[in-house]
């Protein structure tokens, strides 16, 4: 067993430092190890299998703060929001059984969106494992396929080194969630505490720079291309590479489109910015993809919401793929040139080899598409309804891009991506891969905590009425800590995105998407959780409500905007269709006219 080798190397190190290494209980080792790791905040919920750890926390009073969430799912999303806003690893601590299973959705979300979080779960004592004991689940078994890695700590002597490894794995390479399951008897046994400086991980390596031959090849391909396009994803932000990306784009005059998670990596007010692409991307952006002769993907994974029909995607383009995860190369779309490495390093390798080039014809062509179906345009409401897009626009007016925008999942999420002009990195937090309703509020809460450790930006949460109630209980936590969250609920009393699909593809059979008449009174819901509640029911109230919300700075404000249920997100590439096969607002009007 490898544990033998681990132990022998451990005892070799303790031989030197044995005098200094204090003997502590597992629970104390855990609390101290997090301190050593530089954790500044833990999102958690106590229970029987972690009560020893909570007790140790109370006794030791570590340097980090603990946030008592009201549901473990909220805890994992809060850790994600914190991680995405700060670039640090989020930490979660929950009990065994239901505590652990409640984190599963958040872990799966972090896995698909490459968010670095470490989830510590209590476990029943080792001698009871497998006996169907009270609050026992096979946590490592349950989370195996949704974690980057997971551990069951069977020996208190391995606890500190496992914590060290867990943070290292979560943070490095392609980031992701790591679960550490700690049985109660391990928390109660004693061992010398020594936090290793380096993680002991033989089978784990992280790519740095790309192969020089591939870099030369990529530079050559860029030089030869007439219609190049940069397609940038969340990896660019994870690698802190937005500046290098911007330099490359400007040096070679290559237009840039960003994925949902890539928003903010390239200033959208730039002439080369095309906005986002894919299912609800702009017309001109998807047309640019379909007509490009070279696509340079940077930290993006060719998700089906981006490509639609993958075989019909970018039919004329050669593909250069920059990614730190080798398994992303040629997974969905063939890469003609693979640059495996850290996006920041690879872009720095590439920059000096790329010559300035003239792409005027190509940019003119894209401008023509832009005029054909202009972005940022929507139907002004004919009656006295609030256009949901206008709420996003006014939020932009208010913040001027100096805010962290956190969204839930659904139509409002798409409108934020389309109408908010992201100007800085780590300013957009959303659930992309898993599409987790209920993500928004707790993630915004986590981001707001993250703002206390550095950047001082407003945190705005945009949510729908359906998703908001899925984790509404976390309002109490945000209020408890006086977080000045600005929460905008676009309330159409429907599960809007499903309703849109039912309108377009299921002959308007609105099967179980109507939330009336018992949708909550959102103002009262906010007030019941010690937050401020505001409501706008007509367009002229929107600005006032937003202004009023920004005057509150000691607690969360929930703004309810009542919007019409008929409003749809356009343009739209139907699932599985080719990217140039788009439904636009015009299409919808024609369809309505037929009726």
């Amino acid at each position: 067993m490898p544990t033998d080798t681990l132990q022998s190397s451990d005892s070799a190190t303790t031989a030197n430092g044995a005098h200094d290494a204090p003997t502590l209980k597992g629970s104390e080792i855990f609390v101290r190890a997090l301190e050593e790791e530089g954790v500044d905040r833990v999102f958690g919920h106590p229970g029987g299998a972690v009560i020893k750890i909570y007790d140790a926390m109370e006794r030791i009073q570590p340097s980090y703060d603990h946030v008592l969430v009201r549901h473990e799912q909220g805890g994992t999303h809060a850790a994600e929001g914190y991680a995405k806003a700060t670039g640090r690893v989020g930490t979660v601590l929950v009990t065994s059984g239901p505590g652990a299973t409640n984190t599963v959705t958040g872990i799966a979300d972090a896995y698909l969106d490459s968010v670095p979080i470490v989830v510590f779960t209590g476990q029943v004592p080792t001698h009871l494992i497998g006996n169907d004991s009270f609050q026992e689940t096979d946590t490592t078994g349950v989370t195996r396929s949704i974690t980057k890695h997971n551990f069951l700590v069977r020996d208190v002597n391995e606890l500190a080194s496992t914590v060290r490894q867990a943070y290292h794995i979560a943070r490095t390479g392609r980031p992701g969630p790591v679960v550490v399951d700690i049985p109660k008897d391990v928390q109660m046994s004693e061992a010398p505490f020594l936090y290793p400086e380096e993680p002991d991980l033989d089978g784990y390596s992280v790519p740095g720079a790309a192969a020089p031959s591939q870099v030369d090849r990529a530079a050559q391909m860029i030089e030869e291309a007439e219609k190049p396009l940069l397609y940038s994803g969340g990896g660019t932000i994870n690698a802190d590479a937005p500046e290098a990306l911007t330099r490359l784009a400007r040096k070679a005059n290559i237009p840039v489109t960003t994925t949902l998670h890539g928003l903010g990596a390239f200033p959208e007010t730039d002439d080369l910015a095309l906005g986002w692409l894919g299912m609800h991307g702009f017309y001109h952006t998807n047309m640019a993809v379909q007509n490009a002769d070279l696509i340079i993907a940077c930290g993006a994974r060719f998700d089906d919401r981006v490509t639609g029909d993958v075989e019909a995607w970018a039919p004329n383009a050669e593909i250069i793929h920059i990614d730190i995860d080798p398994s992303c190369i040629s997974k969905n779309v063939y890469a003609d040139c693979a640059l495996i490495g850290d996006a920041q390093e690879v872009l720095q390798q590439l920059l000096p080899k790329v010559e300035p080039k003239d792409t005027t014809d190509w940019l003119t062509q894209i401008d023509e598409w832009r005029e054909e179906c202009p972005p940022y345009e929507y139907e002004a409401s004919e009656n006295d309804d609030i256009a949901p897009e206008s709420v996003v626009e006014q939020l932009y007016e208010k913040t001027q891009g100096d805010a962290v925008m956190v969204t839930d999942v659904g139509q409002h999420q798409m409108w934020v991506c389309q109408y908010y002009k992201f100007g800085q990195t780590r300013s957009h937090i959303s659930s992309g891969g898993l599409g987790t309703m209920g993500f928004g509020l707790p993630a915004a809460m986590g981001a707001a905590f993250g703002m206390r450790e550095g950047r001082d930006l407003d945190v705005v949460c945009v949510s729908g009425d359906g998703g908001f109630v899925m984790n509404a209980q976390e309002l109490s936590v945000a209020a408890r800590h006086g977080l000045p969250l600005k929460i905008a609920v676009l309330n159409n009393n429907y599960l809007g995105m499903v309703r849109q699909w039912q309108s377009l593809f299921h002959e308007e059979r609105f099967s179980h998407t109507d939330l009336r008449p018992t949708n909550p009174d959102f103002v009262k819901l906010a007030e019941a959780h010690h937050c401020v509640g505001l409501r706008a029911t007509s367009p002229d109230e929107v600005g006032d409500v937003i202004d009023q919300a920004w005057t509150v700075d000691d607690r969360p404000v929930l703004m309810e905007f009542q919007v019409p249920k008929e409003e749809m997100v356009f343009p739209m590439v139907p699932a599985g269709a080719a990217s140039d096969d788009m439904l636009t607002e015009m299409f919808n009007k024609e369809k309505m006219a037929e009726k």
Partner: protein, 215 residues
């Protein structure tokens, strides 16, 4: 880019999808499905093994056989797996395996010079009439009788996958009661071997020939 530029793989995929004719020179070998034999060195724990097999079900990869056991280093296990897929899928499999934190080494042995073996135990019915023929076949396949009762015997045969298939096929008509197969194990041949003297060279030759004729 000029019109004469060769089609990208993405373009070939598109042509195939829309049923457009594909010129022979455009045919992409990478799209053909092949059987691959992959050796994985990993941490010798149940958790690590579980993670490898889980990967195949979670990502929908095909898994024909898997064999696992300890290596010369007790903390390291070696797993040999057989899968079928085109180059893109197999590259995915090896990269995903490589990504696992507790795998140390992943090698696709398919295109390298390698030996592969599988062990098969087969329980077959016999009568005094069929007994000589069964034993004859067993000899042809260089098998052994490892257990015998008045009505059945257990035979042991070792060899590459195809040989085992052939052996099981030959036994079918006699009434197979049970088959247990170990799954393939494989390793590189020692290609770098340089003979220190003619005698050793002859030995090495005969060993190679021996294993080759087995296949």
């Amino acid at each position: 880019m000029s019109d004469e530029a060769p089609l990208t793989r993405q373009q070939i995929r598109r042509k195939r999808k829309f049923g457009e004719p594909i010129l022979p020179e455009e045919e992409d070998e990478a799209e053909q499905e092949h059987r691959h034999i992959i050796a994985v060195e990993l941490e010798n724990t149940i958790g690590a093994l579980n993670r490898v097999t889980n990967l195949f079900s979670a990502r929908g990869f095909n898994l024909e056989s898997v064999a696992v056991g300890e290596t010369e280093e007790p903390s390291v296990a070696r797993l040999t797996l057989v899968t079928v897929g085109n180059d893109r899928i197999v590259a995915q499999i090896t990269r995903q395996l490589d990504n696992l934190v507790n795998t140390y080494d992943v090698t696709d042995l398919t295109d390298a010079e390698h030996v592969e073996r599988e062990l098969c135990l087969l329980k077959v019915q016999y009568t005094s009439e069929t007994r000589p023929e069964i034993l004859d076949i067993k000899d042809i396949f260089r098998g052994r009788v490892v257990n015998v009762t008045p009505e059945t015997m257990v035979l042991e045969v070792t060899g590459p996958n195809k040989k085992i298939n052939a052996f099981v096929g030959m036994m079918e008509e006699h009434g197979i009661e049970e088959v247990a197969r170990s799954g393939q194990v494989a390793m590189h041949r020692a290609l770098e071997y340089e003979a220190p003297n003619p005698l050793a060279s002859a030995d090495a030759e005969s060993t190679t020939n021996g294993s080759a004729s087995d296949e």
